[in-house]
Point group: D2
Chain length 201, copies 4
Amino acid sequence: MKILITAFEPFGGEKVNPALEAMKLLPDKIGEAQILKLELPTVFKKSIEKVWQHIDEYEPDIVISLGQAGGRACISIERVAINIDDTTMADNEGNMPVDQPIFKDGENAYFSNLPIKNMVEDIKKAGIPANISNTAGTYVCNHVMYGVLYKIHKEKLDIKAGFIHVPFIPEQVVNKPERASMSLENIVKAVEIACRVLVPK
Amino acid sequence: MKILITAFEPFGGEKVNPALEAMKLLPDKIGEAQILKLELPTVFKKSIEKVWQHIDEYEPDIVISLGQAGGRACISIERVAINIDDTTMADNEGNMPVDQPIFKDGENAYFSNLPIKNMVEDIKKAGIPANISNTAGTYVCNHVMYGVLYKIHKEKLDIKAGFIHVPFIPEQVVNKPERASMSLENIVKAVEIACRVLVPK
Amino acid sequence: MKILITAFEPFGGEKVNPALEAMKLLPDKIGEAQILKLELPTVFKKSIEKVWQHIDEYEPDIVISLGQAGGRACISIERVAINIDDTTMADNEGNMPVDQPIFKDGENAYFSNLPIKNMVEDIKKAGIPANISNTAGTYVCNHVMYGVLYKIHKEKLDIKAGFIHVPFIPEQVVNKPERASMSLENIVKAVEIACRVLVPK
Amino acid sequence: MKILITAFEPFGGEKVNPALEAMKLLPDKIGEAQILKLELPTVFKKSIEKVWQHIDEYEPDIVISLGQAGGRACISIERVAINIDDTTMADNEGNMPVDQPIFKDGENAYFSNLPIKNMVEDIKKAGIPANISNTAGTYVCNHVMYGVLYKIHKEKLDIKAGFIHVPFIPEQVVNKPERASMSLENIVKAVEIACRVLVPK
């Protein structure tokens, strides 16, 4: 079994991306599953192209993309990706699409086909706050989640895929005393637990 | 050098008190300083009596009281304690004082005489969010902070004292996805750093 | 031109529903448009049935549904409704669907076909905070938004439709000092402005 | 009976100060009480000098100072002012005092001698969220509150005085969709109710 994990480079003026840091700290094996790690540019289109290439190359059984959701206090497992790019914050190459469909022949939205409720349950059992989120936004995170699910549907691939948003880590909010954060250790643990839900025992 | 750390038993329906858990995990020595630990009842008056007894017995150079500030996202070092008990949430023995002065012959407020700015600076340097708080509330936390500073002023003791409020730990908010929390590891680290500011190098 | 406005009865233990109160205060005409008002039960399925009946009967050009989003601080114009009912809070008849598609033959999501960006712009120009929201949740609000857009798509109706979430009004949060609210006057004004965007000048 | 109301000019980059706007809209009489209005510079020291002059000149029975507390969601009646100026945000003349006592011969703190609990109760009865706040901060708001109470204590004046913090008004947060606000109408109403508590019936 192969699980492809993706994470973005830092964006929005941040020096680190907690999702990327977490990905680096994941083990190479979780149970029987091999963990493949892929860093993505925080760039519309290029991010999807890169993850598609690696899906073709690695042939993973599962794709879990990770992203930073600054301001959220808990791990949030995304339920759905919508067919739109819309931002007022430029991506890392200066693109700033407004109300653009990601794929003209795509569905309005794709639901994650990961066992999102079980993931939330198991993460919470480990003492880490988590919930289901009903929006991955309209920036590059939603873009990649949509792009992966679009490919799976169009090519009828037998792949489960979805997205996990993670909070800031404490280092990012030392000067923002009201912003929530989560330790990198707990983020790593949560992602590992989410993977473990998918691995046969 | 002796540092007396106090922390409260759980209250307000919580099963744990992160401040108490943090205190238990502190080392017995920080640099040259001996760390003395004292659990206090979350009860008006009794909490002050107990900490006073131990100040007399231990003759500490420093007293740092710890408390839970559920909802805050960062370590907050309290600046000031005010001469009032006022609550609508009963303490652990059912007391619910309303607008009562803590000591009729006390000053309206006492400022912490700890180096609170340095403490915040050093905690932040370690990557842990922290700030100065200007209110310790009007519940048992403020009560104990006031009680200790009152004794120091009345008896002209050569003791530095103050209060550190700590966030919920993740276990406490697994079902409250919007509430901020901080890992117990970081809370312990922050309190240790705060102590270290006071210890001669 | 006919604009059908819908709003829900109170739910979730609240005595009022600010969206319903706002609807009552809307004028009967906005420019050339006739304003038709419809109260919906906060009940899965029945709410959709009722709004469908009235769409057939009134033949409106526009359907704007209003709902309460307790905790949000601004008017939020919803972008998209997703094909899922999922709640842990019973509706007003005790239904508590979990992960149920609203219509098995529906698309995963429907985008509002209202000019949502213009609505936000004009409401903000009037000094009232507003934004686009990317999730209407998975409770009865999303349910009705989805149901109306589903009918429009299935029957190829020439109707524009969407959903506006409104904050609590101050009366609802007198004992919740940290919860945001908005005056009923501003809510009414915002909905009126949103309608006005749609009315030829 | 004379009630002196003070409010600050805008500060911190804001174009309006909701407290100032509210003061302007207060009636000139509330019951038997004459309402005197005084705009203060958002400047350390000068603000106190100006309010002192007018206390001497007007000989009011009551002084209520108003200030903006951006981010708070409800009217907050301050309980206590502390003897410290401490800011990292310059006042309107560029002063940025750090850990300075306001008056070296002042008490550590002065409690408001207004009937703050009754004020909160009556404002809430009118459907407007309100609470007691235990900190007026360490900026010019606390400074003026402290300055007025200091004068009253030093000169043994028969004056009741205190401070009311008010939220942003909606205009100030049109581009900050997550910040709470309160309509100017409700702010005015709340201040008027607070005054009315003090006026003999």
